[in-house]
Symmetry: C2
Subunit: 246 residues, 2 copies
C-alpha cells in the first residue's frame, strides 16, 4: 500500500509520499514514489504514484523515454502546459493498460493505479492533477486544494480541518507530515521514509526536498506533540453527564 | 453505509451505532442498527449490524423468530453462553446466505454483512464478538478490546490512542462519540442520530441508553471542543525548521 498527498495553495505546491511497497505483509519493500522532472527557471513537474508498482513504474519509464527522445508531443519537458502533462500521464497509463491489462485480468489482478501530477511551467500558474487508472483526470480547485492517493482515509480528517488555499507552505508541510503519521500508525503497509517536496509559486525550482527517516528530529517532535496533545485534549473534554443505573 | 463500534472493558460494555442507511446518495434513510434482547437480572444481549440492510434485517428477524418460538437450541434468550449467541448469529447469516446469496450474485450484489454481538449471561463474564458474512466469528481480547464494522477507518485513530481495557465506561462513551463524529464528518452516508448503550459488568440490565440527535447539548460540546482543540494543537506545534530556496 501507499499514501501520497499533494496540495495546491496560493503560496505554491506541497508533495508528500511514503516509501513502502508491499505484496503481502511478508514481502514489504521500500520504493520511492516521487518522480521529479525539472529545468530550473522554466519548469518543475512532480509525479506521485500509488497502486500496482509494475504499472506505475512502467508509466514512469514511458514518460522518461519520451523525455529522453525529446518527443515534442510527448515529453513532459517540452509540452507547454501542466494540463498537457496530465494528459501525457493518462496516455501512458492507457498504453500500459493496453499492453498488460488483459494479462493482469487473466491472473486475477486488478489494473490498479492512480497518480498525482503537479508543478508549474513558465507562462501559467502552478497546477495539480489527479490521474485515474482509466487515464482520465481531474484538477485541484480552490475549494478542494488537495489530492490523496492510496490509503487515504486515516490521514484525511486533519487535512480537512486545517488546510485551505490560504495555508502557507510550512504549515501545509506540517499538516502533510501529521497526515502521513496518522496513516503510518494505522496501516503497517505504509511506512517511512517520507519524501517531502515544497515548491514556491513562480520560483521554477525546488524550495526544499526532505527525505524524512525515523530519526528525523522535527518529525519526531511533531508526531509526539500531536499524540500527547490529542490525549490531553481528550482528557480535558467533559465526560457524559448521564445518570447510570446499576 | 454504517459505522458501529463496541468495546469490552473491565467496567463493562459500550455499544454505539449511527442510523444512516443508503442505497445511493439520493436515497438515504434512517434505520436503527442496534437490537437488544434482555431479561433483567439474568441476561443482556446487544447486536449491531452493518452491510446490506435486507440481509441484516433478515438475520434479526430469524433471531427474533427463534426467541418467540422459545427454541431452546436457537433462542438468544435461552442458550447459556455468549459464545452460543455468536454462533446463532453466524447460523442466521448462513441461513440468509443459503436463501438469498445466489440471487444477489445473479444481480451483481455482493453478500455483504457484518455484525457485532455482545452482552452478558449469568454464569459468565461480559463478552463481545464480531461475526463475518461467512458466519464465522472472533472474540474481543484484552489487547484489542474493541470492534468496528462499516466505515471504520476515519474513527479508528482516536480509539487506538485513548481506549484500553482499563478505560472507564463514561470515558469510553466519550471516545465512541468522538469516533462517530469523525466518521460522520468524513462520510455523508454515516449520520445521526447515534444509538449509545452502556452496560456495567454483572448488573444484568442496561446502565443507560441514549439516542443522540443533532441538538444533543453534550454531543455538541465535545464535538466542537474536539474540533477547536485539534486546530489549536496544530497551531501550537512548531513549523518545519527547513531553509527554503527561492
Amino acid at each position: 500500500m501507499t499514501y501520497c498527498v499533494a496540495m495546491a495553495l496560493n503560496e505554491g505546491l506541497v508533495f508528500a509520499s511514503d516509501s513502502r511497497t508491499n505484496a503481502g505483509v511478508d514481502h514489504i519493500s521500500t520504493y520511492r514514489k516521487m518522480r521529479i522532472w525539472q529545468r530550473p527557471g522554466e519548469r518543475l513537474v512532480v509525479m506521485l504514484s500509488a497502486g500496482n508498482l509494475a504499472i506505475t513504474q512502467e508509466v514512469g519509464a514511458l514518460l522518461d523515454l519520451s523525455v529522453r527522445a525529446e518527443d515534442k508531443h510527448r515529453s513532459l519537458m517540452i509540452v507547454d502546459s501542466m494540463h498537457s502533462c496530465a494528459r501525457l500521464v493518462g496516455n501512458a497509463v492507457r498504453e500500459v493498460h493496453n499492453r498488460d491489462g488483459k494479462h493482469l485480468r487473466e491472473t486475477g489482478v486488478e489494473f490498479n493505479a492512480s497518480l498525482i501530477i503537479g508543478g508549474q511551467i513558465k507562462g501559467e500558474a502552478p497546477r495539480l492533477f489527479l490521474v485515474y487508472a482509466a487515464g482520465n483526470f481531474i484538477e485541484a480547485t480552490p475549494e478542494t486544494p488537495y489530492f490523496q492517493i492510496g490509503e487515504t482515509k486515516y490521514g484525511k480528517p486533519i487535512i480537512d480541518r486545517v488546510v485551505t488555499i490560504e495555508t502557507n507552505l510550512m504549515r501545509a508541510a506540517k499538516c502533510a507530515l501529521l497526515s502521513l503519521d496518522s496513516t503510518v500508525r494505522s496501516n503497517v503497509t505504509v511506512g517511512l521514509p517520507i519524501d517531502l517536496l515544497l515548491y514556491r509559486a513562480d520560483s521554477f525550482h525546488i524550495a526544499t526536498h526532505q527525505l524524512i527517516r525515523e530519526d528525523n528530529a522535527y518529525f519526531n517532535t511533531i508526531r509526539h506533540g500531536w499524540g500527547q496533545g490529542l490525549k490531553d485534549l481528550f482528557q480535558v473534554l467533559p465526560d457524559p453527564p448521564w445518570e447510570m443505573e446499576g
